[in-house]
Symmetry: C2
Subunit: 342 residues, 2 copies
């Protein structure tokens, strides 16, 4: 099969890879119908040391089950399924608590002999625990929004949920990338009345307004914080959807004493400012990597009936053979989120 | 009047100070019946640069109202009252949310012309908003436990509450100081079934067992984490009642993925480890300086009927003239918490 492999910063190649086969009785092989490039794929695209072997890329995909292992009981060949961005057994203590990201038997696509999602097919471990059936046809117009359940929409939901967003709240979303925009959708879905989106790309913040943002703050740094405070007097619930220190600093500057910052962007720092100032202000830092699997069935009805349309974050579709271009376009910020079609 | 003043590290003097007088119509003057030395007083006692003017010390006290300003309506001369460790108007937006520590008009004893609690009398700003009447006589045997509502018990409660402790939980309390021991009381009061106390002072951990700890871990560092994990498999709710980096590291090592660490000890660090590892594990950092005022009425019934006995953390009483000795005894860890009687 053909699949995308990253060999180092700026070096993504689409090449021949072995066709995935059932290796464990709990595996399924899924023929990919749609996958995409994640904002988090851009970090290795910017900085990964060159390697001779390469790493299969992609962790968001949906597709059709082609073959199942002997122990797989909940799926059949022909089922259209979406994969959360990590696999999980859905039965260990962490999964039972809804923390599938910490599954005792879970893992990441593209590592440990598991294929990436940016390819023609994927061997999915713990298929029964991982994959969720989609009640639509493979040519449904809803596919982009259902694909978003793989990561960005379930991640945005994790942010709004752990920030404690409820009806009538004022919420700040820092970052106008796909996760930030899905956080806007999620905050609105949970009843937020005012949603301030901090971002400076007009096309993205414009989409953010369409999706529910009531205010946009394009200024950054201290100026941005001052503007948010001027608009809101300080925000009790903040979703930080970037992962950089400046984004965290914006969140800390804008959050109200006693407020909550939920982090969704993988931190690009090891140490952060959690000293006496944050302590005296009773600021809660929460969030983290989303347990996407926990939220897919919960959010799916709202996708199916059109209440939420997270697929709008996909602003360009690339054939699998053009995955290299998709990375470049996203890295150059010409494309918000690239959908890949094998 | 006589009062304790710190002039630098290791330099606490009891000296003559001006008698407090009503300065604002919302003030009250309180004649101190009992005060105490806080673990947080030991940080400046260890490191405060020498100063010519000095800083009045003490922020935990109870006493009898001597005089009230013209606008004070809820208190009368002769009332026995307890003071939370900061003053607050109990009417601003933060106070209305129960976050009195962030009161728009609040402040700290010993700063801005306000007396410290380690003295014969204190002018208390925003007396109506700050002071809570005690329905006992000034010679009640309950006084030490009521004094503990000023800080350590309400702080322990803040920790257990923000850690989300509920019935049946396993809770880890890091630190066997007065706040750690009050966190044990608070966790037990909220229904925790298993309370692991990390501390290495046998007298203190012994008292901790009396107060509700089911397990004591005396080992520190990696060994301590390994022991806690062996006992519990990882703890979902952690109260960090020290404030040092090693204490935070113990909390981070022992907490379960998806768990919560509530910090009660004022951080003795500016930066902390909130990078990808903490993010991937979905660990929540919460807590902070306790809004003591918010909890006093809530906890008082349990003190009055003997359900909780936080006064047991006071293991020695000093006359005001011996406050210097009280600091030394606490700094040398000969005394857990010193009660001061003017």
């Amino acid at each position: 099969m053909r699949a995308a492999v990253m060999y180092g910063a700026g070096d993504v190649r689409v090449e021949d890879r072995p066709d995935p086969k059932i290796a464990q009785p709990t595996d399924a092989v899924v023929r990919v119908v749609a996958s995409c490039v994640c904002g988090s794929d851009l970090w290795p695209y910017a900085s990964m040391p060159a390697t001779g072997t390469g790493r299969p890329m992609g962790h968001e995909f949906l597709g059709v089950v082609e073959e199942t292992g002997a122990d797989v009981t909940g799926l059949s060949a022909g089922d259209l399924v979406v994969a959360p961005f990590t696999y999980s057994d859905n039965s260990c203590d962490y999964c039972a608590e809804g923390l599938h990201i910490s599954c005792r038997n879970g893992g990441r696509y593209g590592f440990d002999g598991v294929d990436g999602g940016q390819g023609e097919a994927v061997r999915v471990p713990h298929a029964d625990g991982t994959l969720v059936r989609l009640p639509v046809a493979p040519d449904s117009a809803l596919l982009p929004s259902l694909l978003a359940l793989s990561d960005v929409m379930t991640t945005g939901h994790h942010g709004a949920l752990t920030a404690g967003v409820t009806r009538g709240d004022t919420v700040l979303v820092v970052g106008d990338g796909a996760v930030g925009l899905c956080s806007v959708i999620a905050a609105r879905r949970l009843g937020a009345e005012r949603i301030v989106l901090a971002g400076r790309h007009p096309a993205r913040t414009g989409l953010g307004r369409d999706l529910g943002a009531t205010d946009v703050v394009a200024e950054r740094g201290e100026e941005g914080v001052a503007r948010i405070r001027e608009l809101t007097g300080g925000v009790g619930k903040v979703v930080e959807a970037v992962g950089t220190r400046p984004a965290l600093d914006t969140a800390l500057g804008a959050v109200r004493d006693g407020g909550t910052i939920s982090r969704l962007g993988v931190p690009q720092y090891e140490q952060g400012p959690i000293g006496p100032a944050v302590f005296m202000r009773n600021i809660t830092l929460t969030g983290g990597a989303s347990p996407a699997r926990a939220y897919i069935e919960h959010l799916m009805p709202d996708v199916l009936d059109g209440t939420i349309t997270p697929g709008r974050v996909f602003d360009e579709t690339f054939a699998l053979g053009r995955t290299t271009d998709a990375y470049r376009a996203m890295a150059d910020r010409r494309v918000l989120k690239a959908l890949i079609r094998p």
